[in-house]
Symmetry: C2
Subunit: 442 residues, 2 copies
């Protein structure tokens, strides 16, 4: 039975989806049952990489949603509006939605999920995180037996490309960014990528699936790579680490002070440049590739790796979602009033709350600019010790300016509040000119 697809947007991803639907041979036979019925574009006259009959195209996206021949609405236009409104309009019409729009899902996921649950329709989002990497479906359908301890990932290809080149070439951030923009790996306005916002969108989505509750996007502490100094990448390498922009969501032990909140999951969710030991599974992920490491009990560590962006990979994920909706329609006799599969629908099942970062614990990398005088390392070590921060290593690096020194400290896993207290004491030392860099370490 043919299933009508309505496409909102015909950019690179939309064209990729249309291309797959137009060439079903050799793909899963369900692809052959999908028919593109209507496509919303901004400009009818623009030349396109795929040939589509002119009568399929319209500049009115609501007409696509409302078209009775459209059974599934595929939103690949991007941006917050009108994408959000169109998704809600489709849901209200009882039509399942497939979207690649991480920004909308990270911000309006709760509203959209509530509307979808009320209407009994699926909203699938495999393409929103990790491009072509299957990660949403595995989190929903393959790891439910686990208590998830941590989800950590390299989920922004632009920054990983920049960091890979900074590490390989010893190049400065600004130079590599300019080159990446020239080559099309970074956008003209790179803020969402390099400041970590895109990764924060994505980890909000992954965390909400892994932990079964809505994660407030706006509350995620987010630090990008735009202030990363090439010298920290180089020092990290000398100490056996690589620097990656990591997005992390981690379960915290429940607070015994709040016995009534037993079912609540406390989470430490954050995005920041991070030192990874060279042997860590994520350390070898280079270029525009993405990878997500899921740690759970009893599965242990599983990792998903692949192209994090691009028309082909993203279209593969979008069509996978369409196929899943088509598949379950067959299982439920194409009935529109069938109950939802709770795994595929992935409704929220417990409240999640972000903890104050002061109570979290991490390993840290700190670079200090100091006078090159005997006793400085002792004074710094004392500040850490008095704050209860135990240290793994203190190394002095050579600098070009005489009389100055650079000291790099790597701590053991310590409480953030204690660490901040130690840093304040260190900044007050006469021989310490500046805390020049402060990065998290795995």
């Amino acid at each position: 039975m043919t299933i009508g697809i309505g496409l909102l947007g015909l950019g690179t991803v939309g064209a990729g989806v249309a291309g797959i639907l137009a060439t079903p041979s050799g793909r899963h036979p369900l692809v052959g049952e999908l028919a593109l019925r209507r496509v919303a574009v901004r400009d009818l006259a623009r030349p396109r990489p795929v040939e589509l009959a002119a009568e399929l195209l319209t500049t009115d996206p609501e007409a696509v949603v409302d078209d009775p021949a459209v059974d599934i609405v595929v939103e690949v236009m991007g941006g917050l509006e009108p994408a959000r409104s169109l998704i809600l309009r489709a849901i209200a019409a009882g039509k399942p939605v497939v979207t690649a729009n991480k920004a909308v899902i990270a911000r309006y996921g709760e509203e959209i999920a509530a509307a979808a649950a009320a209407q009994g329709v699926y909203v699938l989002i495999e393409a929103a995180v990790g491009g072509g990497i299957p990660i949403i479906e595995p989190l929903k359908q393959s790891l439910g037996a686990n208590r998830i301890q941590r989800v950590s990932g390299i989920i922004n290809g632009t920054t990983n490309y920049i960091l890979s080149r900074m590490a390989a070439e010893g190049a400065a951030y600004a130079d590599v960014l300019a080159d990446a923009q020239r080559l099309g790996y970074a956008e003209a306005d790179p803020a969402a990528d390099v400041q970590g916002g895109d990764a924060a969108d994505k980890i909000a989505i992954l965390a909400s699936l892994a932990y079964g509750g809505n994660v407030p996007r706006a509350a995620i502490p987010t630090e990008g790579i735009d202030r990363l100094d090439a010298r920290d990448v180089a020092y990290a390498a000398q100490l056996g680490y690589v620097v990656k922009l990591l997005a992390v969501a981690q379960a915290m032990p429940g607070s015994p002070a709040v016995p009534s909140a037993q079912a609540e999951q406390l989470l430490d969710v954050r995005v920041h440049p991070t030192l990874l030991p060279k042997a860590h599974p994520l350390a070898g992920v280079n270029g525009v590739n993405n990878a997500i490491l899921v740690e759970g009990d009893p599965v242990g560590q599983v990792m998903f790796y692949g192209p994090g962006a691009g028309a082909g990979p993203t279209a593969s994920a979008v069509v996978a979602d369409i196929l899943n909706i088509a598949g379950i329609r067959q299982a439920t006799g194409n009935g529109t009033n069938a109950p939802l599969d709770p795994l595929l629908a992935a409704g929220s099942w417990r409240p999640c709350r972000l903890v104050d970062s002061a109570v979290t614990s991490h390993r840290n990398y700190v670079r200090l600019r100091t006078s090159d005088r005997a006793g400085v390392i002792g004074a710094i070590g004392t500040c850490f010790g008095e704050a209860g921060v135990s240290i793994q290593s203190i190394v002095q690096f050579e600098t070009q300016s005489a009389g100055d020194a650079e000291i790099v400290v790597i701590t053991h896993e310590v409480c953030e509040a204690n660490f901040r207290q130690a840093l304040a004491a260190i900044e007050a030392l006469a021989d310490v000119q500046a805390v020049a860099a402060c990065l998290r370490t795995l």
Copy 2:
């Protein structure tokens, strides 16, 4: 609504499953709706790692299958019989089956799938390949938009443990095997692992899912690591490669000589020790870990990595399958006559056929024992050239016996028939004592 689980087998995996079902808190809420109703064991008196009420246990596995309180039958007993018969018995009773039994699925998958399709029940097998790594579900539910070009994997943990240690320590195969047996990483009878049979079972299963057709297990060319010489591991390392036992399933271009067989998929499926360039995504997979690389159009390369065996990871996969069945039961109103979701059921949709290996093309590594005389390399090069085999490198390695040389040749990608022809000519050379080793290269 509670769903009754019947467990066939209470070994390490069965105990892991029972442990998850007994501790639902913090897992997906559907786990709390699963109730263990009956467990078949071999010996009632044996002490077990999980505490179960005595009345749950029976030594009669058919009683578990037949128990009306059992809605889903979970086969984790292993072995071909009675596992196969019990799976078929459950299907005949209209009960969905979850199994971790790669040997049964690789050999009787077609029979079991036909019975399951006729009865309209699911037989899910996530735990049969890759332990805790989600790979079966992603192949079925996340990659259907793709034309799969190749599935290649390190899917036997025992051999990967042995190879990792051989590479790290320069140790001999027999020594590492003995140590692995002592440490519990290899079985007392290691044949199924080290001769490649286990990996062949698993690639037969992955290929049948990736390509949508039954793959004849018995026809898969299979070579293990039991005759691998430590010196080839060392030479490979010097040339920039690591040796892994790789299982590969690769699509071949259709034969224009058989126009009526357009829908047939020709496959090159095989298991053999393989040289991987050190930068290859699978090259860094060490110890008992597994990883599967899927290459498709348009997704590109995606990789799935994690623990390939063990009670916890395997139980995670088994319970994932149970949850998927429970989820779709909710979506279909618990009706037993609902049609199957074609993605989850993963029926076969085209005939697949293995090609004669003579027509396949590969890169090769060859080690020759020769006289240490001028002109030998020239003569060898001439033999390859006359057979149309182009060479990437010829390197002479030092040997301990005076007058002898060891020459390692790495070819470009060449037709297997041409390569065999060249080898025959080389073996006939007076200065060539033996073709000492012959391995595939990526």
